[in-house]
């Protein structure tokens, strides 16, 4: 089956929050796709992009309702179908690829069972030919052991493989329209590139019409023909991908483009190098039982060596499981190293919290990734900021009040938020409070663990800007942990690349990131999608290791 044309007109979707009034969350959305074209829905969380994409399947999540409009696929008006007709449409003519493949596969059924289920239910083919077709798709999607991988269960294959198997599940019935809902967001960049390539190949070959939901403009640039920019359920701009990338008409699109690559306009401040602040020599961190030589059962970090001078920022880059968070937690004293020690201010730090002095606590502050979990929901913002002032400084009540207000100014938050609880703040505001609390201690070193990762790109870029500014104004040093190269480039002087618990390369930021020496660094940098069309085709990097390595 070839892709069919898709026409959406005046789509309206309403939601009823519990105990609240019904209100519109998607407003007057319309677009047209020719057969075989890919439309990207782009926007931040809450922009309604997934809600719109699901409406293409005639589906609205619990608490939501498609209130009006039309979705026409070929000759079929999807929103006018009854329940049985809608069911026949789903997984047959319209297929869905979900964000988290790990959650979207049933843990207790084999992968093959789930891949061919749609084809069997809709009577498209018999079990034998469905299995053959699935194997064929596995092969096209460059999955290892295509004949045998279907016998496995979801927890037995890696995330990148699972995502491709989900693509096979969607394509098994040769659908006219495929909905891809952030299909690579949960993956590391080096895995993402292969998945994107596989998706693009099978979809181009079949001429499938597709909706691609994403927050990442660079990914969209590789996959889409058209783009619809959304904010708060409203269309901001719509056009061909080239036009959106090169001549964005709408202010919001421009801010998205700017936020996507913060290093284009943001760079680390020129600061004079001070004395040595933090030094780590041959550090090893591990969990579990130690053997006779003191080696732990599971080594998370090994042979780590680093130095941060006063006022300097070191970026630590790595993918999931590289041990980068453990590094920050070791410096903070939450994890004791199994070998080596941390020198702070030329004095050895106690490996655990117990032996550290109040002054050492004050000088090293940690800012966690998710401000949702890092701020106690029971305390007001004032209380959160007051506590470090009480702990570290003996200040008069009035002085403390002034100091709290200063801190709010420093992170650019209005004083009116002081008496709110974290639950009443937005994600960006929470992260600013989180930072302000660390600054309240007047620290020498702030450990930032993925502080922008959980935020929308525009909000994250603003936080990054704030971090750069604080560096310039307060001369505070950072140990900045991230998986995103461009954020490191825009904030840090030095960089260190971690791979499976070991440092593969380190040095000056511009040095390492522009002329990487190690193969892994090159691959990591080369795998980050660029904001231009055709990058995916020219990019040489591929995770061949994943295909040749034995399955987990």
């Amino acid at each position: 089956m070839q892709g069919e044309s898709l026409t959406v007109r005046n789509l309206e979707i309403c939601a009823t929050p519990l105990g609240g009034e019904e209100h519109s969350i998607v407003n007057n959305i319309g677009f047209t796709l020719a057969p075989g074209e890919v439309m990207a829905l782009i926007g931040e969380s809450g922009s309604g992009k997934t809600t719109i994409a699901l409406a293409m399947l005639g589906y609205a999540r619990r608490g939501c309702r498609i209130a009006g409009g039309s979705v026409r696929l070929g000759e079929t008006e999807i929103l006018e179908l009854n329940a049985v007709q809608t069911r026949r449409l789903r997984g047959h003519r319209v297929a869905y690829i979900a964000q988290s493949a790990a959650a979207a596969f049933n843990p207790s059924r084999s992968l093959m069972d789930q891949v061919i289920e749609g084809a069997l239910i809709h009577g498209v083919m018999d079990r034998h030919s469905a299995q053959q077709k699935a194997v064929q798709l596995f092969r096209e999607l460059a999955l290892p052991e295509p004949e045998r991988i279907g016998m496995r269960y979801p927890h037995q294959v890696s995330g990148g493989q699972l995502q491709r198997i989900m693509a096979a599940m969607a394509l098994i019935t040769d659908p006219a329209l495929v909905i891809l809902d952030e299909p690579t967001t949960a993956l590391d960049v080096t895995t993402q590139i292969d998945v994107l390539r596989a998706f693009k190949k099978v979809m181009r070959e079949r001429g499938t019409t597709a909706i691609y939901v994403s927050h990442d403009l660079a990914v969209v640039a590789q996959m889409a023909d058209q783009v619809l920019v959304l904010k708060g359920g409203q269309e901001q701009e719509q056009g061909r991908i080239a036009q959106i990338l090169e001549q964005p008409a709408h202010e919001y699109t421009r801010s998205l483009l700017a936020a996507a690559r913060p290093d284009a306009h943001l760079s680390p401040p020129e600061t004079a190098r001070g004395d040595e602040l933090l030094r780590i020599d041959d550090l090893q961190v591990g969990y579990g039982q130690r053997d006779r030589n003191g080696h732990p059962d599971k080594v998370v970090l090994d042979h780590i060596q680093l130095r941060i001078d006063r006022g300097q920022a070191l970026g630590v880059i790595g993918e999931s499981g590289s041990g980068k968070s453990t590094l920050a937690r070791t410096v903070a004293g939450l994890v004791a190293p199994s070998r080596g020690a941390v020198q702070f201010n030329r004095r050895e730090l106690s490996p655990t919290l117990r032996g550290r002095t109040s002054e050492q606590f004050r000088r090293i502050q940690m800012v966690f990734q998710s401000a949702d979990n890092a701020l106690n929901p029971a305390h007001s913002v004032r209380r959160l900021l007051n506590r470090p002032l009480e702990t570290y400084f003996s200040l008069d009540r009035n002085v403390r009040r002034c100091r709290v207000e200063e801190l709010m100014d420093l992170v650019k938050l209005p004083h009116t938020l002081l008496d709110r609880k974290p639950g009443e703040l937005s994600g960006g505001q929470k992260q600013r409070v989180n930072l302000a609390r660390a600054l309240a201690a007047e620290p020498d070193l702030i450990l930032c663990d993925e502080v922008t990762s959980a935020l929308d790109t525009v909000v994250g870029a603003a936080i990054l800007e704030l971090l750069v500014e604080l560096r310039r104004e307060l001369g505070v040093a950072y140990l900045f942990i991230s998986h995103d190269i461009s954020t490191v480039r825009s904030l840090c002087d030095d960089v260190m690349v971690l791979y499976q618990g070991e440092c593969v390369e380190s040095g000056r930021c511009e040095e390492v990131l522009t002329r990487p020496q190690h193969n892994y660094t090159r691959k990591l940098i080369g795998s980050v999608p660029e904001l231009r069309q055709g990058w995916l085709e020219t990019c040489q990097w591929s995770t061949q290791t994943e295909a040749s390595a034995p399955l987990v």
């Binding site: 619990r62 309702r65 009006g68 919290l353 106690n376």
Partner: protein
Amino acid sequence: MNEFRAMTHPRTNSRRRVTTGSRLPVASPARRNRPRLHLIRWVGLGLFGFWVLVAIFGPMLAPHPMSAFVSDEIYGGASTANLLGTDYMGRDMLSRILTGARYTVGLAIIAALLSSLIGAGFGMLTVLLPRWIEECIRRVFDTLISIPSKMMALVMVSAFGTSIPLLILAAVLSYAPGAFRIAHSMATNLATLEYVQVARTRGEGKLYIAAFEIMPNMIQSVLTDMGMRFVFIVLLLSGMSFLGLGVQPPAADLGSLVRENIGGLSQGALAVIAPALAIGTLTIGANLLIDSLSTSRGSQKE
């Protein structure tokens, strides 16, 4: 908790089906559901509140002393003189229920408070103590929780004879372990959260962390849990009284009232039905109230 939360999503699957392009009138099932939720809460609050008031003021309102013989008729039906009839000795049932409710509600409230205090207290404490002490405490409570509550009460009564302090002790020994288990798992979960780690890296002491970082975030769940324990304890204590092993004459709680009048059951005597219904309305009321409160709290979080 999941059970409660499940109730907060009252929409049917079929309702998600899409109708034609024209706008539908805004009549969401969720909206229709809200008054019902409130209705359950008010019914629960009404029943529970009624019995609490009876427990406080009942003895003052009773028309007769509870052990006064007011009628020659035994197992008498409802009459203007005896609104709830008379019991097996011709005493006024209304007066006896009004007086007996104080035992049922009062003992259960005391036992529930103690259970939750002890359970939640140890649950919090284990976060502060060294690992091995925590293990010991856990082991003790795990053992106690493996003895069904009625078994515990029966064994204790057989050894020491029944008395009101003993009944309370039996209830606490049976229900504190459950409160401990919930508080302990909540506290250990909260202790791994990032804001607690932030407090640790700030150099805060364990006591501060327990009292100001962990406690405020579990207090509501502890209170809900205490409500559940109240219901269970009412059922346990009235069950014991019903077996003749609980509150002893001349005092009587609602369970003993059912027991002493059980002989009237074959005649359908009000004297046996009225106290049984009294316990039923008390526990159902408390259960409805707790369920609706925890439901609405669950939905606020979402």
